[in-house]
Every structure is written in structure tokens, then in C-alpha cells.
């Protein structure tokens, strides 16, 4: 009877395609919006996740997320180094000076000042040049997107001069840093160079980057540092989630995306559900005939569920394919780099589509199950 169910489904081509495309567009919209949402939120933690050689971030106890920092005293570094379980700890500067090119084009930028001796936190994905050239005087590494923002339409080139808050520096490398939340250039330099870009504040150290000794977990080290110094210490993953949670809680991003996702879900459910319901209702006489012939309710249920599962699976596959093409195209754009179709988004959307199909099938099934087979004798 599966053959009969399949033929009933595909016989009316317009309705069949309508059903499939309702599911496909709903899938596309849901996967698109949830992936972009997750990608944008992940950007709030890009600079944390880019640092792969340290596992623990130490900061002022009141710090809530990466962008909001209060400088620590230099003595804090010594205190953290003294905490048992700390293999090493280095300073990290973060500032947002204005970067200006020779032509006068300027943009606010994120400057990360790395420990002069170790260069811990240096960008590992380089597009041009090497990060160890940061040891040269007044040198910086800028990310590719920031370079294209400051030098639009120009080829990547080392040796260009930039002014950071009126301090001249030379670009010695171009990196592929994770995209920041705002479209600021991400500039890496040495700590001693970076502190010169800022005003004359007493304290300059935004973060301390640390690594636990072998046998000590990052979480345990965080607890020890907090207990010993009173400073806030978070693992890289914890700090990244702190940033994401901060933006979720304090910005309108989740509401905006939430509305779009809810509309996609409602439209998908209503359109696909209603079309499938009408499809079944219009075929009630056929189901009545099958009932009269002696096909039991459970077989009819299986037929309706098979029809629902077929349109759901085909629509979901189409929609996911459309989303994959969309993200593949936009992944190559500078503005949308790093935003990918996440498997979690595909899985979540798959779950939603199963819900839509089951709901539509159950609503339709009710009509089939209560159907009086004697309907077939009515003209």
C-alpha cells in the first residue's frame, strides 16, 4: 500500500510541489536565521577563541564580556604567576584606537597588545607575512577584513604605514582573524607598542592570559586564581559564553532573530500543515473507498504518515540544500565570513520539520480515522 500512498501524494503535481516547497522554504528560513544568529553571537567571542595558546583569561572581577574591560594593576600579573598550578601567565592589552591610512581613510580598530617576550595570543592564521615579525619596532599585524576596510579595492601589501592614535606603525603581516562583532579591523602588536596608542592611564593591562601546569585543569586553575587574587578567571570557553550571554541578555539581537525564526516556524507549520490537511480532506472519498475495501485504520495511518514523511524529507533536503548554497556563497564575502551553516541548526530545523509534519499528519489523520466508510455509497 506504500505504492498507493506515494502515487496518491504525487498525482496532483501542483499540490505536491506546494507542500514540498512550503517545507523547503520554511527549512531554508529556519536554518538561515538560526545559523546567522549563532554566527553573529559567536563573533562576540572571536578574539577570545582566536587565542589558542592560553586556556585561562584573568580579568577585573566586574568584567562581564570582552569589550568591557577595566585595566588591572601590573602587580596582578605577578600574583597570578604565583598561584599554584599556573604554568605561565602573560599580559594582554586591549584598546580601541582610531587607525588612519596615508590617504586619510580611518576606522576605529581593536588593538591587542601581546606579551613582548612570548607573543602569546598572536594570530596563527596568516594570509601574508609572519606573526613573529611583530618583534620589529612599531610593527602591527592587521586582519584581512580590516585591511580591505582601510584599503578598499587594493591588493594585500606589507610595509604600508598606519597611524594609530597618531602613532605611526608598519604593517608586517595580514592575518585571518575571527570576525569581530562590529566591523572593526583587528590589529595585533606588542604590548609595549600598544600601550603607547592609549592615553596616559596608570594601568593598561586589560587581561592576563595563563596556562595551567600539566595535570591541572583550566577550571581548577580559574578557581585557584580567583581564590588567591580575587580576580575573575575564566576558561576560554567560559569567557566566550559569557560574551554570548551578555549580548543575548543586553541587546535586541535575540528578539529580532527570534521573531523571524518564530514567523518562519509559524508560516512553515501553517502553510505546510494546512496544505497537507486540505490534501487529505480532498482525498477523503479515496480513503473511504480503501476503508470499505477492508484496509484497516492502522494501515491508513501508515499511508498518511508516509505521505507526510515523504514531503517532509524531500522539502527538508531541498531547504537544507538551498541553505548550504546560500552559506557557501556568503562564506566567501568579507562581511559575512565565518558565518556557516551549523549542524546544530540543521538538526534543530529537522526537529521542527518533524514536528510540523507530525502535527499536519495527526490533524489530517483525525478526519481519516473518524471517516464513515459508508460515505462511498453516497453519490
Amino acid at each position: 500500500m506504500n505504492m498507493v500512498a506515494w502515487k496518491m501524494l504525487t498525482h496532483e503535481r501542483a499540490k505536491y510541489l506546494g507542500l514540498v516547497f512550503a517545507i523547503a522554504f520554511s527549512t531554508f528560513l529556519l536554518e538561515n536565521q538560526t545559523s546567522i544568529f549563532a554566527g553573529i553571537l559567536k563573533r562576540t567571542a572571536s578574539q577570545i577563541l582566536d587565542v589558542t595558546d592560553a586556556e585561562v583569561w584573568v580579568m577585573d572581577p566586574s568584567t562581564q564580556y570582552f569589550e568591557e574591560t577595566k585595566a588591572l594593576r601590573d602587580t596582578a600579573l605577578t600574583r597570578v604567576r604565583g598561584v599554584p598550578g599556573t604554568a605561565w601567565a602573560v599580559r594582554l592589552f586591549k584598546g580601541i584606537p582610531v587607525a588612519r591610512t596615508e590617504t586619510g581613510r580611518f576606522a576605529q580598530s581593536i588593538v591587542l597588545g601581546l606579551d613582548d617576550a612570548t607573543l602569546v595570543g598572536a594570530p596563527r592564521k596568516m594570509v601574508l607575512g609572519t606573526w613573529d615579525r611583530l618583534r620589529e619596532p612599531d610593527s602591527v599585524v592587521i586582519d584581512r577584513a580590516g585591511y580591505l576596510l582601510l584599503y578598499p579595492g587594493q591588493p594585500l601589501q606589507l610595509g604600508r604605514r598606519l597611524e594609530l592614535n597618531d602613532h605611526a606603525v608598519t604593517i608586517v603581516g595580514i592575518s585571518e582573524a575571527g570576525a569581530p562583532f562590529a566591523s572593526f579591523p583587528v590589529i595585533h602588536t606588542r604590548y609595549s607598542t600598544a600601550t603607547r596608542f592609549q592615553g596616559l592611564e596608570r594601568n593598561q593591562m586589560a587581561f592576563i592570559l595563563a596556562r595551567p601546569t600539566p595535570g591541572t585543569s583550566a577550571e581548577a586553575l580559574c578557581t585557584s586564581i580567583h581564590a588567591a587574587t580575587g580576580l575573575r578567571a575564566r576558561t576560554s570557553a567560559e569567557f566566550a559564553w559569557d560574551c554570548i550571554r551578555y549580548y543575548l541578555k543586553n541587546t535586541g539581537i535575540p528578539v529580532n532573530f527570534g521573531i523571524t525564526i518564530a514567523i518562519a516556524l509559524i508560516v512553515g507549520t501553517v502553510v505546510a500543515g494546512q496544505t497537507f490537511y486540505l490534501f487529505t480532506v480532498e482525498n477523503l472519498r479515496q480513503f473511504g473507498t480503501l476503508k470499505a475495501i477492508g484496509i484497516p485504520n492502522r494501515r491508513l495511518m501508515a499511508m498518511v504518515l508516509l505521505q507526510g514523511a515523504a514531503v517532509g524529507a524531500i522539502g527538508f533536503a531541498l531547504g537544507t540544500g538551498m541553505a548550504a548554497v546560500f552559506f557557501d556563497v556568503f562564506r566567501q564575502q568579507v562581511a559575512t565570513r565565518g558565518i556557516i551553516l551549523m549542524w546544530q541548526s540543521v538538526a534543530l530545523t529537522g526537529g521542527c520539520m518533524v514536528f510540523v509534519v507530525v502535527l499536519a499528519s495527526v490533524l489530517s489523520l483525525r478526519r481519516v480515522l473518524v471517516l464513515e466508510p459508508a460515505i462511498v455509497f453516497r453519490a
Partner: protein, 241 residues
């Protein structure tokens, strides 16, 4: 043929719809017997309860009271699953509107009872082709119902009703939508293919043109069988048996 063996027996059969002021009694104590090996016609004016009676006989509707037996089985006393199984293996249906599935070809439509019984599609459709060939539709087996004439559609419906060898075939106005010649041809096929000593056919009809095919004619009115005429054996065409 054994005319004394009852195929269908209805005793004091009653069927009501609705409650209170809206209650309508459609069957009012029907006493009816259709004999095996016979083609029994059920005649009566519109609204007299013919369709309700065959719906109850076929197990598509429950009666309010009374008994129905089909070849000795009290269908209403079976549990719902057993009743569906009984209907699937022992009953065939021919409807006024044919009720063919528009998505299936003629052969696939005729094969539906076999598919329902779990026969593999290839085998079921093959057997349906064979039967359609016997009914003169060999060249239309792969055609969708929308491309068949009324008479051809009714022959496909007939094939669907007969393919699984049911003991009882129930027909509701099988010739109402057909012209005289086509109607007569359908009745010939029905009488020829469905009748056997251990089988029976009940036909509800208004079409007096096909009465010569009947072995018995039950007259119905106002929810009762007024009488069964078997004194005058009808003269069916010679090739119908």
C-alpha cells in the same frame, strides 16, 4: 447452484440515525434473505433505506438492532479488526461513482484488494491485468481512470470487486451512470464473473432496464422489505452463467 443456501440473512434489522426529535428510523425491522448462486436486486424509491441496508450488510455501518449473517457469519458480532479482515476477504464493492483512485492506473486500481491483503505489487498488478483482459480492458490496463469512459471505469471497478474472489459482491447503482448498452454489458460481466454456487451478488438499482438479469427482486419501501419476487425467474442472457 444451490438456491436453498442463504448467502445473506437479515433478521428484524433496524437502523436509526440521530437522537430525540431528530431521530430518524431508516431501517424498520428488515427481514431479507439473498440466496447463494443468485443475483438479487434491491428495488425501491429514493430514501427508502436501500443504501443503508447494503451498508449494514457490508459491515460499513452498525445496525441499531437485529442480526445480519453473511454465509453464516454474524458480521456485527466480530471485533472491529476481524470485521475489516472479513470485509477484505469476503466482500467486493461496485459503486455508482466507481470510486477509482485517480492516481492509479486501471490495473493498479483493480489490484488494490490484493495489495491490501499483502500480495506483492508486481504479482497483484499482474493478476489485475489478467482479469482486466478477461473484462475486455487488456489494452487499457495502464491508463489512468480520467482517460477511461464511464463503462470502462465501471469495468475496472468490477475487476477490483472480483479480483480477490469475494463470496458476496455488493453493487450500488452500478449502471446508473451508463447508457443502456454499456449498462447491459456491465451486468453481463457481473453475472458471468461473480456468480457461482457459493457466491452471491446484491444489486441496488433504479435501473429497470437491467432487471432481466435478476434471479430475485426484493422490493423495499419505508425501511422495510415488502416482498421478494422469485416466482418469476428472470431470463438472464445465455452467456451470463
Amino acid at each position: 447452484m444451490n438456491p436453498s443456501r442463504p448467502a445473506v440473512q437479515c433478521r428484524n434489522l433496524r437502523k436509526q440515525f440521530g437522537d430525540g426529535d431528530t431521530r430518524i428510523e431508516v431501517l424498520r425491522g428488515v427481514e431479507f434473505t439473498a440466496q447463494a448462486g443468485e443475483l438479487t436486486f434491491l428495488l425501491g424509491p429514493s430514501g427508502c433505506g436501500k443504501t443503508t441496508l447494503i451498508s449494514v450488510i457490508a459491515g460499513l455501518l452498525d445496525s441499531s438492532s437485529g442480526d445480519v449473517e453473511i454465509f453464516g457469519t454474524a458480521v456485527e458480532k466480530l471485533d472491529p479488526d476481524a470485521r475489516v479482515r472479513f470485509r477484505r476477504s469476503h466482500l467486493g464493492f461496485v459503486f455508482q461513482q466507481y470510486n477509482l483512485l485517480p492516481a492509479l492506473t486501471a490495473a493498479e486500481n483493480a489490484a488494490v484488494p490484493l495489495l491490501a491483503a499483502g500480495v506483492k505489487p508486481r504479482e497483484a498488478v499482474g493478476r489485475a491485468r489478467e482479469l482486466l483482459g478477461k473484462l475486455g480492458l487488456a489494452d487499457r490496463a495502464d491508463t489512468l481512470p480520467s482517460r477511461l469512459s464511464g463503462g470502462q471505469q465501471q469495468r475496472v471497478a468490477l475487476a477490483r470487486a472480483l479480483i480477490h474472489g469475494p463470496k458476496l459482491v455488493v453493487c450500488d447503482e452500478p449502471t446508473a451512470a451508463l447508457d443502456h448498452a454499456t449498462g447491459e454489458s456491465v451486468m453481463e460481466l457481473l453475472a458471468g464473473a461473480a456468480l457461482a454456487p457459493d457466491r452471491a451478488v446484491i444489486v441496488v438499482t433504479h435501473d429497470t432496464r437491467v432487471l432481466p438479469f435478476a434471479h430475485a427482486i426484493a422490493q423495499m419501501d419505508d425501511g422495510r422489505i415488502l416482498g421478494v419476487d422469485r416466482t418469476q425467474r428472470r431470463t438472464a442472457p445465455a452467456h451470463s452463467h
